[in-house]
């Protein structure tokens, strides 16, 4: 693959000409980028305080090796399983005449809206024997394969149909065409998606706690609970290193992306492969996948909700929990989207080496599991800002750190749809910059901002780990209340909370899927 270059993005004016404008914007974006590095900085300071001797004593014990082995084997297995299932499902939905493929496209993504710990709860409450490595592989694969499905489906949809046709024309058979053209085309999406899966596995806490599987993250939480701060810091450091390593792989995979369409026009409808006699087995496969990933958790939730509370604990206010969940998540959505906007604007409109670096630096928070961010903020608040400790503000900030990369991706895509040339035209037509912003830029960017908001909202609603650590005293969100019932094995009492959680999360997921589907189709000018 030497010597091919990705075609330049179409642009209305050379971006270099923009240097003069938007210096204030650059400053704001740089500030955001610096703030985003703070959790990592706090972690390093903390580790520095603990000192090397104490760190090495913790790192070179037998338990650390066991955790490393547990974490890495699970990570590799789940990533491979997700890559296989996600890619296959995407190919069947996008490229074959699978009956009901529009419905399947939605159903297959829905497990994304169900928190991993709810899926784990569903399985464990049905079959208590499911635990350990196998249980963890099963649950995490069912929870995370949509992370591969979505990018691969998008890549298949955006692919140039001519390439497969040319391959067939050059005498390649169906299978050879699939391997050498189709798979090659979306290998970046597959690999990138799998590494995102790996990051999710690394930062998962709730599901593994339920499944009694020990990884770095669960151990960090345990150490935190017993106030062993040195051990928590030492393990966090290792975990972050592994995450950074995975993130590096993901960045390199994306850097290798080379696409080239033969025309700029919208994709022609691709001729779909006929499944023929394979239709029934494939359909059964989809039924099984959706049944396991969606049916089991939803089924158990319905079962336990209908059967009623088996708990002897006093019923907590579900309305209050729902309100807190929605309120914190909405704040997080707004804050994160607002933070992502300046970074997206300079990344798209002032494309230079320095701004690209700035943008990339914000992705480093992606390597920080929620628990590590939460602990870093606890450390920060306890040392320098006691007034923030256990306030909603700190929790919302944690969400913003945690979900910034998600928001940035969505905001960037939408900013790219409002090229600065359109603003130039608007101004040449005698309209002021402010008016042009409201009549041109905002209408074009708004859908993407809404998508970013939804994405963060959805993620914050279903977030458990950081919420457990940072929630204000005496406040329960749906996730934490569900958690306290589940850890008491009060499955019946827990069920309504999870059901509401899924219901609140499902709406933004639906909006997102719709947005995602529209993305490559609308070409405009």
């Amino acid at each position: 693959m030497v010597g091919t270059i990705a075609p330049p993005e179409p642009q209305l004016a050379p971006p270099r000409l923009r240097a003069r404008r938007g210096r204030g914007l650059l400053l704001v974006a740089a500030l955001v980028a610096v703030v985003l590095q703070l959790p990592l900085l706090f972690l390093v300071i903390k580790a520095g305080q603990v000192g090397w001797d104490a760190l090495s004593a913790i790192l070179f014990r037998h338990l650390t090796a066991t955790l490393l082995w547990n974490t890495v084997t699970l990570l590799v297995t789940v990533s491979i399983a997700c890559a296989a299932i996600g890619t296959a499902a995407a190919w069947f939905v996008e490229r074959t005449d699978l009956p009901g493929r529009r419905v399947w496209a939605v159903l297959v993504v829905l497990p994304f809206a169900i928190p991993d710990f709810v899926i784990a709860y569903g399985w464990v409450s049905v079959r208590p024997s499911i635990h350990g490595f196998q249980g963890a592989v099963l649950v995490m694969t069912l929870a995370l394969y949509p992370l591969v499905f979505l990018p691969v489906a998008a890549s298949l949809r955006g692919a140039d149909p001519a390439q497969e046709e040319i391959a067939r024309g050059l005498g390649l058979g169906r299978i050879e065409t699939f391997v050498r053209v189709t798979l090659a085309e979306c290998r970046v999406a597959i690999f990138g998606g799998s590494l995102i899966v790996a990051l999710a596995v690394l930062s998962e806490y709730g599901a593994f706690e339920i499944l009694r599987y020990r990884t770095f993250t669960t151990q960090i939480f345990t150490e935190y609970n017993v106030f062993n701060q040195a051990a928590a810091a030492a393990l966090s450091l290792v975990l972050v290193l592994i995450c950074l390593f995975v993130l590096l792989g993901e960045t390199m995979a994306r850097g290798g992306a080379r696409t080239n369409r033969s025309t700029r026009s919208a994709a022609r409808a691709m001729a779909r492969h006929r499944l023929g006699r394979a239709t029934l087995p494939v359909l059964l496969g989809f039924v099984a996948l959706v049944g396991l990933a969606l049916g089991v958790p939803i089924g158990t939730l319905v079962y336990w909700t209908v059967r009623g509370s088996s708990s002897t604990l006093p019923p907590a206010s579900i309305v209050g929990a729902a309100w807190h969940t929605a309120y914190y998540s909405a704040c997080a959505g707004a804050l994160t989207t607002a933070l992502a906007l300046p970074v997206a604007l300079i990344a798209v409109r002032q494309r230079r080496r320095s701004t690209a670096l700035l943008e990339r630096s914000t992705y480093i928070v992606q390597a920080l599991p929620g628990l590590v961010i939460a602990l870093a903020l606890v450390f920060f608040a306890s040392r320098w800002a006691a007034f923030l400790y256990q306030t909603p503000q700190l929790l919302v900030f944690a969400y913003a750190f945690l979900f910034f990369p998600l928001a940035l991706v969505a905001v960037k895509a939408s900013v790219a749809r409002a090229p600065i040339g359109l603003e130039d035209v608007g101004r040449s037509l005698g309209r002021s910059p402010v008016e042009v912003f409201f009549r041109v830029t905002l209408p074009l960017v708004a859908p993407g901002l809404a998508a970013a908001f939804c994405l963060v909202f959805l993620s914050a609603v279903t977030e458990l780990t950081a919420t457990l650590v940072l929630r204000p005293t005496a406040v329960q969100t749906l996730a934490t209340q569900f958690w306290s019932y589940t850890t008491n094995l009060s499955y019946g009492a827990a069920a309504p909370y999870a059901a509401l959680l899924v219901a609140i999360a499902a709406l933004p997921t639906y909006v997102l899927v719709r947005w995602f589907e529209r993305l490559p189709g609308r070409t405009g000018t």
Binding site: A13, P14, A19, R20, L422, D424, T525
Partner: protein, 356 residues
Amino acid sequence: MTTLSISGVCKSFGTLSVLHDVNLEVADGALTAILGPSGSGKTTLLRIIAGFERVDRGVVRIGDVTVDDGNTYVPPERRRIGYVPQEGALFPHLSVIANVGFGLPRRERRGAAVQHLIAMVGLSGLEDRYPHELSGGQQQRVALARALTVDPELVLLDEPFASLDASLRATVRADVAAILQETGTTAVLVTHDQDEAFTMADHLAIIRAGEITPAAAPQDFYAHPIDPAMAAFVGEANLLSGTIEGAFANTLLGRFPIRGVAPDAPIAATPIGATVLVRPEQIDVCAGHGAGGLAGRVVRSDYHGHDALVTIAPMDDADGNERIVARVAGTQGFERDAPVTLRARGSVLAWPRPTE
């Protein structure tokens, strides 16, 4: 009267100097084309006129208002300049009528003036379409109508036809020229397409590496290019090596009078080595090796329908590298390797070659 006057404009981005000392006068009601290869600074110049970029030095005046001299700066929205960018840049979220009416006060946005402009660019009935439902040519017309709504003093066209199919380009080009003429609008067109500049422009200026020539009629550039590179840039050119003897140039095609040189010009003692411009249409091609003229053989023939360009290698060319291009009628077919005789007529241009 001049609508636009640019003097001594310099612009650089960082260490990269894009425009040096650019001067340009644009006459009222005329279409002036700025022709230049990509990277020559022509789009930057246009963006400076529109007010999207500021000058480092120099003065830009529109009418009798100084809009930019490094200190005073009139922002684009107060310059009354219609801007038609590459690929139209229609607002994708607005319909045709909303695009055209964008620059008007709210109550006029669907008014008679907008309808009239849409009719003028031939898009009546498509008012409620969205940009992605229009062809490239239609998008370009909407962009022009939109630029005309604000009754601009000046319309700037930035390679507006580059994204159109060749077949469409000629008609859209003619339509746009007709509309501009009809409305008496002063326009500046930036393009890298010599054919486009020649067919559309009343006046032409050529920009190369940030330096611009004075504007003149297109025919002047064709007949009197200032150097061999420009001669080749504005059209097919045979740049032959030869010598200057007073008012005449000697080439392997024969001896020709030099345009613009007095017939009694003194003859240098030793012949001056020169590059001599002979346009392809000055050369007649006859089949077979006849008496007089230059014998050669056809190495290539590019057929264009109405005419054809025939490339000929002279028979007695010592190093075998010289090629002469002649324009012949399309009906006159020449086979490869056919023997031919070349006879040239008219006058030529000659530039003394720098002595080593």
